[in-house]
Structure formats: structure tokens, C-alpha cells
Amino acid sequence: MRISRSRPGTMGIAALALGSLVLTACGSSGGGNSTTPDTPGASGTPGSSQSSAAKGRTAGNTDTTGISDTEIKLGTHQPLTGVAAPGYSNIAPGAKAYYDYVNDAGGVNGRKITLNIKDDTYNPTTTGQVVDELTLQDKVFAIAHGLGTPTHTAVIDQLNESKIPDLFVSSGALAWNQPEKYPYTFGWQPDYTVEGKIIGDYIKKNMPNAKVGLYLQGDDLGRDGAAGVKQFIASQIVSEQEYTSGNTNVAPQIGALQAAGADLIVGFNVPAYTALAVLTAQKLQYKPQYMFSSVAFDPQLVSGLLANFSKGAVSAEAGAGLLDGVSVTSYLPTVDKTDNPWIQLFDKVWKAKGDGKPLTNFGVYGMAEAYTVVQSIQAAGKDINRGNIISAIEQNGASFKGPWEAPFAYSADNHSGISGVGISQFKGGKIVQLEPVMTTGDGDTPITPAKVDPATPPASGIPE
């Protein structure tokens, strides 16, 4: 007996059913005002000619979902567990601690700010699910601090279609700054190209003979950063090496930079990979100079990681000493600057409202973002709604004062965030300034020194 073919009858029914069911579902795809997929970066520069026409994009939106007389509900998606959790899982608790601090002082206009933190494990599919939960089920007023480029990319269309404020994405991708397409979305930290441009400009002026090797994370961080650097010193770059997140073997990359004769490594990477690069260079007896973007260099984290190595029996040559002389961009004070009034404020907040562990620079980042959110809510006034908070940020954001070292670029045509960074050097466990804070934008926006004096926190610790 040979079992081979199925009877056509059964299969026929199956096919018929498939057809008839799917017919009802067979719509034209991509109807409506479907947009061509944008390449973040290409459309990053907003047209400056439309400033008047662009105003009040959100004016008609008086939606007050998530706002009551006593509460403003915010939601966020963060990697609290999984491979991206190290470090980043501290940002939202920092923000929450600051909101709790403000709430203890009565909140804003009598409303307490609550932050609902959802874990998306840095998986864009999960991000979509938890943001649905936040907006549809928990009915939050806005999404704030949403973390990550691929993750937030999964929800940006939907948030803007639903006209939900999407405040201060925790990522330096260029995509957030598209006010025409995404009127409800604002970036916050300096975008990666801005950092790249300021680094490139500094090297061109101060180290014109350096042979530059680029050390890049293989995503928008590395690529946007490199694009900025290349605007100034394309001819000085001798090698460009990418790593992929999760692969901790960077010996091939560092070896290639060494082989290319690079004497200055410029890094757009995450902190753990800074430590890996420095360690691997040590292994190869390679002693270049380093310049890292702000994302790559959390002095507390990196030196903490490196310092632990020297706890082993022998290796005194490893340790925090490896970082001496490393240059880095920054736009926020770091926790090692204990005499900085902002750090003192945030430390006080964290001691009162944190989880009992020491304050980290990720926590500072979260609090500084929360500080901006509080300012935005204040600027929107007592009759806050989903439309007027956007125009309030567009109108007042550029003059927000806070711990950031360069002003926000916010306007009706610009949703990008902090407009510049300073360059400093790590010396003897402390950071000393190499170059004052410079500001710029995307594209060919010129680089100019920042024109603000460093702000000091108000006595109450709450923006006034």
C-alpha cells in the first residue's frame, strides 16, 4: 500500500474557504495618506521657510485624556529587563523619583504627576504592545522618556496619528525631529550628528595631524555620529570599524584600527564598549588617544567597570587609570561633580525618593528629562491639553533653564532637543573642560559657542 496523494475534495474545500474568508479581508494595502518610509536623517532638517505656516499644528487638539484636577498620568516604555537593561533600567526610576519629589511639593497646578513605567525588554514588538496598553487601557496623557531608536520607531506613527504627546525620546536619533510629519514628538538629548559635528570640528582645529579611527556601534548611533564627524575631517579618517551590540569580542575592530595606524580613536558606542575598547587596546599594546561621544562615556560606569578588574590578584595595569587622558563630549553634569548644584539637587532627590542605591548618571539623565517635562507642563498652564503642551514647548522650550549645558533648539520648526555639547577630558578621576560648550544643528548649520550662562537650580528644586 502506498500512501501518496490527498483527495482533491478536502483540499478543495480548504482552498475555497481560504479564498472566501480572505476575500472579505482583501483591502488595498497602504491606502490613505500612506507615507514613503523615511530614512531618518534624510528628512532631519526642517525647512525654515514654513515657520509661520507651521505654527499651531496641534492647536485644535483640546484632548485632556489622562488629566484630572489632581493628576497627570504619563507612561513610558523602558528596557527594565533583558540585554539592554544594564544601565538603561536606571533612567525611568530617576525620572519617577523627580516626579515624586515635585508631587511632595504639591505637584504642578495642584496635579500630581504619575509615571507608569512599562518594560519592553528592548523589543519593538513589545514596545508596540505596552504603548497600546498605556494609551488605550491606562489612558495616559502623554508618553514621556520612551527609550531606544528601534523600539520607539515602532510607536511613533501611531502616537502621532492618535495625537498623543510624545515627549523627549531617550535616544539621539535624527528621526524625532520631523515636526511636519511628527508634530507630537520631541527629541531631547543632542542628536548623534550634532555630537559628531562638534567632535569633527574640534579635531580639525586642534589635532589636524591626527590619524582618526572611527569605532562605531552598527546602528544609527554609529552611523549618524560618523556622518557628523566626516563633515569636517573626512580626509583624516584612516579606518572605520563597526561592532554589533551583544558581540563582546572587539579585538578584530581594535586590531584593524591599530593596523591602519590610527592614533586617535573616536567612538560612537555605548559605555560597556568603551571599556571593552580600552581593554582590548591594552591587550594589543596599542596606545591611541581616545575621544568618545557622550553616549559612550559614563565616567562612573566605565571607570567602575575597569576598576573592578584590578581587584583580581595581579593586574594592576588594568583599572580606572586606563582612562586617564580620554576626551569626551557632555551636555549634563555627571555624578562625580559633587560641587555642581544640579548634582547636589538630584542627589538630594534621589536620597529622598530613590531606591537606596547610589545615584547613577543614568538616573541624572532621567531626572533632567523629568525636569524638562515639569517645565513643559508648567508652560502649558492650568488648562493643559494634548495640543497646547506641544505649542508651549515650541514657544518656550528654547528658554527652558536646567542642568543641560547648551539650550534646547525647540521651535515650531525644530523638535530636536539640546543643541550642543562641550568637550572635556578625564584627568585623575575628574573631568576638566577642553572646549567650551558649542552648539549646532543638523546638516550644514554652523557651529557656534553656546550663548548661555550655566543655570543654577531654583531653591525649591522645582522649575519656576
Partner: protein, 372 residues
């Protein structure tokens, strides 16, 4: 919460795992055909049920509607996997990668060919997933148990890297944006504005079609061949079954179903990025088929419901117990892991298998007692 998912299938008929190949023609032609009609009816009714549910929840609980969409993309992938593993006896730790193939096909087509009808896009996604499934299936057909697990695991971790390698075409780390299909005018004139519910309804139409296709298939000669191969290779080859071909076909069918799931995932998530297709997805799919009940399509529906609703449920329970968000997020996987272990220790045949065993045992006891 799993009650949201209607019981769309007939447990006994579709519990492929419990049926044995007897070769005595127990599934005669007349019975088969009537089963086909019965299944068709069930599937249509289920779809109408989902449609009504979407209309009902659209305004009162829109989050449930999006959760149903999530369930719709898990369902075909899980159903295909349960047929592969439960009916044909091949394990796969790489079905997440096959979903990725479907999702990327859909995303690329929707981006470049906006005018294509969605059904064509889905069929193309199924086709590419089948091609990849065929290639893997050829290798898989020669492997046993853990060796197959290892090969498919390598597939799950290897394939997403291609999206970064071909970043100009596949969008790299940030992935490809997807504009979901919108409701055609004639459909909307009947149903009214469904909003995002349209994708849910569309997804369930496809998911149920896949389920119907599989239910007929496992009850056809192919299904019997697969079971024969699973139960006794030597006997099966004595019966003239080409073992390799039967295995490859099962893999291709299962991959095609994963392709449907991936295609739906793309339009529901609206982004196709490598980070969505980590090894965790593949392992979750495997978990779902075992929790539901291996080889049973009803079990697949339960498994899809668990994957969709359990994480939110656990998180909310933890919050209700007074934990903060971070603690809840950290505790949820502990509980999830322990649930897996406990189900395997206490109900090793999954929810469907264990329920069914209990039912038969009770019936047997009752008939014994009435007989005596």
C-alpha cells in the same frame, strides 16, 4: 482573559496528537468531507464572533482589540509549529526566524509596491517563508531530536543578522516601517469604521484560514503520513512513505504558517526590525505549543492566548500586590519560568491533553460504574 478567544475548533477532531495511524481506514471519505464542512462552518462562525467582539470592544476596551491582533499573529505560527512538532515529531527552535522571513517580505512589498492587494502580499510572504522552510527542511529531514534543535536554534540566531548585513534593502537595526493596509470602502460600508480593529479582523481572517487549512491537512493522508513517520519510521517506510519527503513537506507547511504569522506581525507592529525576532520569540512559540497541548490546534489557540495575555496579566497582578513597576517587571519572568516548570511537572500533556485525559478517565469510570 483567555475567554476572549472563542473555542473555534472541535477538540477531538483537531487534536492531531491523540489520533493514531491505524491504516484501517477509520477516517473514511464521507466522514472526512463532513469534517471539512464542519470545520469550515466553525471557522466562519469564529470569525464572525471575533468581528462582533471587535465591534463590541472597539470603544469600551480598545486595548483588548489590539491584544486580539497580537493573538492573531501568534496563532498561525503556533499552529504550524504544533503540527510540525506534535504531528510530525520534528522540533524547531527557529520558527521566530521563519516569522521574520514573512515579516520582511511583507514590509519590503508594502514599501515598494503600495498598490498590491494585501492578500497578494501575504501569499508572497508565505511563499518566501516556504522556500526558506524547504531549504531548512531538507537539512532537518536527516536530523533527529537535539541535532534538529541545534540546527534550528542556529537559524534563529543567524538569520536576523542578514537584515543588518543587507541594510540598504532590509533597513538594518532600525528596521523597516510598515503602513498597515486600510479598510476598503465597500468593506467599511458594511462594517462601519473599525479603526485599528480592521487589522484585528483581517488578521483573524488569515489566522483562521491557516487553522482551517491545517485542520484539513492533519486529517488528510498527509497528516496520517506525518503521524506515521513520527510514530514509527520503519513501519512508515514499509508502508511506502518517503520519510524525507514527508518531513520536508511538514516543514514547508509549518514555515508557510509562520510566514502568515510574520506577515501579520509586521502590519500589527508596524515595524519590522531584527530586535523583534530574537531567540526569545522562537522559544516563546515552542513554549506556547507545549503549554497548550502538543499537536492540538485547540491547544495552539490556547497557547496563543497565553502568550498574548499572560505577560500583561502577571504584570498587573504584581502591581496589584503592591510592587512598583521595576519590581513587577523583574518578577514577571520569574513567575513565567516557574509556570512553565510547574505545568510540565503537573500537567505534562499541556492544557488540552490533560483536560482531555481527565475527561476520558471520568467517562471511563462512569461507564464502568454504570456497567457494573
Amino acid at each position: 482573559m483567555a475567554l476572549d478567544s472563542p473555542d473555534v475548533t472541535d477538540g477531538e477532531l483537531l487534536g492531531g496528537g491523540s489520533r493514531r495511524v491505524t491504516g484501517d481506514g477509520s477516517g473514511g471519505p464521507a466522514l472526512m468531507r463532513s469534517n471539512g464542512v464542519k470545520h469550515l462552518l466553525l471557522v466562519v462562525l469564529a470569525w464572525i464572533g471575533i468581528f462582533l467582539l471587535v465591534k463590541l470592544l472597539q470603544d469600551s476596551n480598545p486595548f483588548r482589540v489590539t491584544q486580539l491582533a497580537t493573538m492573531a499573529y501568534y496563532l498561525p505560527a503556533i499552529a504550524g509549529l504544533t503540527v510540525l512538532t506534535g504531528v510530525n515529531g520534528q522540533i524547531s527552535l527557529g520558527h521566530g526566524a521563519l516569522m521574520a522571513v514573512g515579516a520582511y517580505t511583507t514590509s519590503v512589498l508594502l514599501q515598494r509596491q503600495e498598490s498590491l492587494p494585501f492578500i497578494v502580499v501575504v501569499l508572497a510572504s508565505v511563499a518566501t517563508a516556504c522556500v526558506v522552510g524547504y531549504l531548512v527542511g531538507i537539512a532537518a529531514a536527516r536530523l533527529h531530536g537535539p541535532y534538529l534543535a541545534g540546527a534550528t536554534l542556529a537559524l534563529a540566531v543567524g538569520l536576523p543578522g542578514l537584515a543588518v548585513y543587507f541594510r540598504d534593502f532590509l533597513g538594518g537595526d532600525q528596521g523597516l516601517r510598515v503602513t498597515p493596509p486600510s479598510s476598503p470602502a465597500w468593506f467599511e460600508s458594511i462594517t462601519g469604521d473599525l479603526g485599528r480593529g480592521y487589522v484585528t479582523v483581517l488578521g483573524w481572517a488569515l489566522a483562521l484560514s491557516a487553522l482551517f487549512f491545517l485542520s484539513n491537512l492533519v486529517n488528510s493522508r498527509y497528516g496520517r503520513q506525518w503521524r506515521a513517520v513520527r510514530d514509527d519510521e520503519i513501519a512508515a517506510s514499509l508502508l511506502g512513505i518517503d520519510l524525507g519527503r514527508a518531513r520536508v513537506l511538514a516543514f514547508v507547511v509549518s514555515a508557510g504558517c509562520a510566514g502568515v504569522g510574520g506577515s501579520l506581525l509586521a502590519v500589527v507592529t508596524r515595524l519590522t526590525a531584527p530586535l523583534s525576532f530574537t531567540i526569545v520569540l522562537s522559544l516563546f512559540l515552542l513554549t506556547a505549543i507545549v503549554l497548550g497541548g502538543l499537536g492540538s490546534l485547540v491547544g495552539a489557540v490556547l497557547g496563543a492566548a497565553l502568550l498574548t495575555f499572560l505577560p500583561t496579566f502577571l504584570n498587573n497582578q504584581a502591581l496589584a500586590a503592591g510592587l512598583d513597576n521595576s519590581q513587577a517587571a523583574n518578577l514577571a519572568p520569574v513567575v513565567f519560568g516557574l509556570v512553565l516548570v510547574l505545568v510540565m511537572l503537573l500537567a505534562p500533556r499541556g492544557l488540552v491533553g490533560t483536560t482531555r485525559t481527565a475527561y476520558y478517565q471520568r467517562r471511563a469510570r462512569r461507564s464502568r460504574s454504570t456497567g457494573a
